[in-house]
Each structure stands twice: as structure tokens, then as C-alpha cells.
């Protein structure tokens, strides 16, 4: 595969370094984290989730995690996407509005209810809706839930996406996208922290 490994790139792992050697011991994981990235951002079939939607959601999700090389990478990716420049202002504004700390949310009613933690129930601003459109507005609201309060997720949230025009297959791809980014941003952060502690 000619494409540079995205996790190595974002984590600043150089060929021949100690962490390069450690990552090579989990070659299948390394190669398939890369394939996950490619199948989400260079899919063979983008009919259920457009490339622009993928880039916009990625910029939003990684931006919600705070400033980082990963967030910059996906913001640049959105800016370079066809139609992306027109979304940047709205995505930046929504990231700022969506900032909070997680995970929070509620457990099923019972002994775990004492652990319920209230927090922001994020909704897209009226000002951003015209630029984003109904599908992306619904996607950002659901992405925020997945990032910060995944235990609050309910069947009604699936209905909201279906009502906004998302297909069942589109929901699966979109959910994988947000969940994958939640993984990728953490691996990169962890590896960067380890590299800094080893230097």
C-alpha cells in the first residue's frame, strides 16, 4: 500500500524508531487500522454517506476532542473536500458550541442510577442549519451524543437519523466513522504521550 500510515503520520512515528518497531509487532492491527481509515474516507461505495458528509463529521468529531494534530488533519481534509470550504465556518462554530467533558449520561433505571451524570444535550444552532442541511445537522447531533454520552443512546436516536434521510446502511457507516475516530484520536494521543515520555 503506497499511502502513508495515517496513525504513524499523526503520531509522528518515524521509520526505524522504537515505537515503529513496537507497532510492527501488531502488524495486522496496524494495517487494518489503516484499512479502516481508507474504507471510511476512500470507500468503494459512497452512495449512502457522501465524501463531504464523512469529512464534515470527521472534522466535527475530532474537533470536539480539542486542538490536536488529528483535529487539524481532518479540518484540512474538510477544507480540501469538494464543497467543504462552505461548511468550515459552520463546523467551527458547532465545535465551539459543543465543547464539554465526557463521558456522561444516564444508566438504565436501577442500582446504577446513582451514577447518572447530567450534561450538555447538544443541538445544532439555528444559524448553522442552512449551511449544514437536515442530514448533516442530524448527524452532528448524533455524533455529539456518541462522543460525549454514548450510554444515553436510544432507539429514538436511530429514528431521528432515519427521519433526516439516513438509510440503515448509512447509519452503520456513519456510526463506524464516529466510533473509529474515537479510537484513532486516542491511539495517536497515547502513542504521542509515550514517545514524549521516552525521549
Amino acid at each position: 500500500m503506497s499511502t502513508q500510515d495515517i496513525i504513524d503520520t499523526l503520531a509522528g512515528i518515524k521509520p526505524g524508531s522504537a515505537l515503529d518497531a513496537i507497532r510492527a509487532r501488531r502488524l495486522q492491527a496496524r494495517e487494518n487500522a489503516q484499512k479502516s481509515y481508507l474504507s471510511l474516507f476512500e470507500p468503494i461505495d459512497a452512495s449512502d454517506v457522501s465524501l463531504l458528509e464523512r469529512a464534515a463529521v470527521a472534522a466535527f468529531v475530532t474537533g470536539l476532542h480539542g486542538e490536536s494534530p488529528v483535529a487539524s488533519f481532518y479540518r484540512d481534509k474538510l477544507a480540501a473536500s469538494a464543497g467543504g470550504a462552505a461548511l468550515l465556518e459552520a463546523i467551527d462554530a458547532e465545535i465551539a458550541r459543543g465543547q464539554t467533558s465526557g463521558p456522561y449520561g444516564s444508566f438504565p433505571s436501577g442500582p446504577l442510577s446513582v451514577e447518572n451524570t447530567a450534561g450538555l444535550i447538544y443541538r445544532v444552532s439555528a444559524a448553522s442549519k442552512p449551511a449544514l442541511g437536515a442530514r448533516l445537522a442530524a448527524a452532528l447531533e448524533h455524533a455529539h451524543l456518541l462522543v460525549f454520552r454514548p450510554r444515553d443512546a436510544a432507539s429514538a436516536d436511530m429514528k431521528a437519523l432515519l427521519d433526516a434521510g439516513w438509510s440503515a446502511t448509512g447509519i452503520v457507516t456513519f456510526s463506524q466513522l464516529v466510533a473509529f475516530l474515537s479510537f484513532q484520536v486516542r491511539v495517536v494521543s497515547g502513542l504521542r504521550t509515550l514517545a514524549a515520555a521516552t525521549a
Binding site: 468503494i44 470536539l64 449520561g105 457507516t173
Partner: protein, 191 residues
């Protein structure tokens, strides 16, 4: 419509999982889908027949998962990789994922009571220096914004983990931030 009896507490018991949107019917699966499932037997699982709606992503996700957890030729013992998965799931609130990986952690560590304390008391349970370091690192990684820092690395090293083992903790805990979000948001567990 199947009857769902959702668990209200963390458990090491075996749970079912019911999708909120339609999985693909088994009869409609093609070779492209079976490639995505990786193991053909996964066609029996509602969860995997749902995720196989995007076969390429599922295949890559599954192979990432398997190497992070099952490749024990070197690195962190399987029990502690499962502990990272269980702790992450406990903290994010995924009762289903926690049940599976708490069971695995118990099986591989033979410390079922300690694993149960993680489920009952939460991620602050005192499980001894080494397990505490793994749980704390997993929790710091699961937080948004990410709270994992040099103190976590120092603590893992004091507990005896080398850098390759620390990477296994980072991979295992990070992976469950992927898995938890799918399991929690596309359906629900059932007793």
C-alpha cells in the same frame, strides 16, 4: 418483535444484544459480506449482520480487534488487555461490552472477584498496583478531552510494564472506545 429484558447492572453473565435497525437477512449475504464478517459463523449474530451493511469497514475493524486482543506472541498478557477493555466499557457505560470482556478478564486472570469489584464499585475499585495502573490509564484515555498523560506512563512503568506492553494497553483501551460506541448506539443488551 423480540422481547427485550435489559440488564440494569454490570454483570459477568452472558447477555444477548438486540438491534434497533434492521440487520441484513442471512439469506441476502453475498461473498462480499462474508469477507466482511471474517468468520462465516458471525452470520448468525444480529450485531455482525447489522455491521456487515458496510463490509469493508467491518472486515478492517474485526482484523484490528483480533490482533490487538488475540496476538499474544509477546507483549501484555491477554488478561490485562481484557481488563483494559472491561474498564473502558465500565467507564463509558457499555453493560454489554463490559459483560463479555469482564468474563474474558476473569477467565485469563483467575481473579473473578477482583473483576467483579471493578463492575460493582466502578473504575475506582482498588485492584492492586498493576491492575490499578491499567484501569486508570484506560479511564484517562476514554475521557473526552483525553486525559491520558505522562503520569499514566510513569505509573504503568512503575507497575512493571515495558513500552510494548504500554502500547498494548493504549491499543486495547482505545479500541473499546470504538466498540462501546457501536454497541451502545445501534441496539441494546437483553438478559
Amino acid at each position: 418483535m423480540s422481547t427485550v429484558n435489559p440488564p440494569v447492572a454490570f454483570t459477568q453473565d452472558e447477555l444477548g444484544w438486540v438491534s434497533w435497525i434492521d440487520p441484513l437477512p442471512e439469506a441476502e449475504l453475498t461473498e462480499r459480506h462474508y469477507a466482511g464478517l471474517v468468520d462465516r459463523s458471525r452470520a448468525k449474530s444480529e450485531y455482525f449482520r447489522l455491521l456487515v451493511r458496510d463490509p469493508e469497514v467491518l472486515e478492517a475493524r474485526t482484523k484490528t480487534d483480533k490482533d490487538i486482543f488475540y496476538n499474544v506472541a509477546d507483549g501484555l498478557p491477554r488478561a490485562e488487555r481484557e481488563l483494559a477493555a472491561a474498564a473502558t466499557s465500565r467507564y463509558n457505560g457499555c453493560i454489554y461490552c463490559a459483560s463479555v470482556h469482564a468474563r474474558f478478564a476473569s477467565t485469563y486472570s483467575k481473579r473473578r472477584d477482583d473483576v467483579q469489584r471493578l463492575l460493582d464499585e466502578g473504575v475506582k475499585a482498588d485492584l492492586g498496583e498493576r491492575w490499578n495502573a491499567v484501569v486508570k490509564a484506560s479511564v484517562a484515555l476514554a475521557a473526552t478531552p483525553i486525559a491520558f498523560g505522562p503520569d499514566n506512563i510513569a505509573e504503568l512503568r512503575r507497575a512493571g510494564l515495558d513500552d510494548a506492553e504500554i502500547v498494548d494497553v493504549i491499543n486495547g483501551a482505545s479500541f473499546f472506545n470504538w466498540a462501546n460506541r457501536l454497541m451502545l448506539s445501534l441496539g441494546e443488551p437483553s438478559k
